[in-house]
């Protein structure tokens, strides 16, 4: 019986895969992350559908909790009365408005038909600008964006903090935040468009939108604009110009 002692062929070793470990690693990570983000996006879409359909009692509970963060002395009563008049011109719905003394320029719509405006805004814009901002917040209320946002935030917390430990929770939280940004920016643009259409239908000037965005536009072009929940003011103005053009 012949013994065959052939020279080993080192370049053709069938016991070792030719695939690159690093490439395989990156492919699996990308695949897992992609699948997770698709799954997460589907849940967000479902939440966007179901959250606005929750009974109003839930909204009231949430709004009571949120409003409890503001003390009675934080409310600027004079400006609140003034803003209520503007609100009446724009909407007949039962919306409560509160002006909070603050140096921050901001406004928000809370569940339970509540609009919060920070007093610093009054120093920056005229009545037209204020009217656009109120219209924008009414847009959020009409589109139920606050409940959608609540759903997204809760989901993000559940996924990142409850299901995973550090350091995975931090990575998941940052990744999910980026996914959420797309939804919140879309909500903001829709609210802008709603406000413009509302102002036009009520016969008010839309000049306030330009005034407002020019006052908050600091020409910042750094990376932080990509992480902001709101689109850049310039981009928002372009969207508004499109609507006005139509």
């Amino acid at each position: 019986m012949k013994y065959s002692n052939v020279e080993p062929d080192f370049d053709d070793n069938p016991n070792i895969s030719k695939r690159s470990p690093l490439k395989t690693f990156l492919l699996i990570i990308a695949g897992l992350l992609g699948s997770f983000l698709v799954f997460y996006t589907i849940i967000i879409l479902l939440l966007n559908f179901f959250m606005p359909r929750l009974p109003e009692e839930y909204e009231v509970i949430v709004s009571n909790v949120l409003v409890s963060f503001f003390d009675e002395e934080d409310i600027d009563k004079e400006k609140t009365l003034f803003t209520e008049e503007i609100l009446k011109e724009l909407s007949d719905d039962d919306i409560k408005i509160l002006v909070i003394k603050s140096e921050i320029i901001n406004a928000m719509a809370l569940p339970g038909n509540i609009i919060i405006v920070y007093s610093a805004l009054y120093d920056k814009v005229s009545e037209d600008g204020l009217r656009f901002v109120i219209g924008h917040e009414i847009g959020h209320l009409v589109n139920n964006d606050n409940m959608k946002l609540l759903g997204r935030s809760s989901l993000r917390t559940i996924f990142s903090e409850s299901l995973f430990d550090e350091p995975v929770s931090t990575i998941i939280d940052k990744s999910l935040y980026l996914v959420s940004l797309a939804f919140s920016r879309s909500d903001e643009t829709n609210a802008d468009i709603y406000s413009i259409n509302l102002l036009k239908s009520k016969g008010f000037s839309t000049h306030g939108a330009y005034e407002f965005f020019n006052s908050v536009n600091d020409d910042k072009e750094d990376l932080s604009i990509y992480l902001s929940t709101h689109p850049h003011p310039k981009k928002r103005l372009k969207e508004i110009e499109k609507v006005e053009g139509n």
Binding site: Y3, N5, P8, I16, F25, L32, P167, T170, I171
Partner: protein
């Protein structure tokens, strides 16, 4: 975030150092395999040559190789998706060939190695409570024989 940085650092360390050492080891294995190629080896129980066996000896070679962090994480990821665990394949191939070379080193004064057997075991299994092994041991053992030319066949 610190623990994440540590994770990335260990992953990069495992990949770069692990790949470097693996390439170096394979290079060494190839060179030594060429040198020891003439010592015949098989796993038959008997020696079927014509010559008389004049000496026999139990020879063995063993090798323990540790996983690097990158390979461990990659193996765990492949466990999720299925498929060839490529990080283990290279590790086991290295271990097997290194153990055979060590056994051949022990049998360098002999003419033939028969009845060779290979055993594999993991070391440190479950030590981190995750079921992943951290090192493998490959043990090769066989019978080395010395023959006298011109004599008839003998049974080992």
């Amino acid at each position: 975030m610190n623990s994440f940085t540590l994770f990335l650092f260990l992953l990069a360390l495992g990949y770069f150092v692990g790949t470097f050492r693996e390439k170096k080891h394979f290079k060494s294995i190839k060179e030594r395999e060429k040198l020891s190629h003439k010592l015949k080896i098989d796993n038959l129980k008997k020696y079927y040559g014509e010559e008389e066996i004049i000496e026999r000896k139990l020879v063995s070679g063993s090798c323990v190789i540790a996983m690097d962090y990158f390979k461990l994480i990659l193996a765990n990821l492949i466990n999720l998706t299925g498929g060839r665990i490529i990080s283990y394949e290279a590790l086991i191939d290295r271990g097997r060939r290194e153990a055979i070379l060590r056994m051949k080193e022990e049998a360098k004064d002999f003419d033939f190695i028969i009845n060779s057997r290979i055993e594999t075991s993991s070391i440190g299994k479950n030590s981190n409570n995750k079921g992943a092994f951290v090192a493998i041991e490959i043990l090769v053992y066989a019978t080395a024989i010395k023959v006298k030319k011109g004599e008839t066949i003998n049974e080992v």
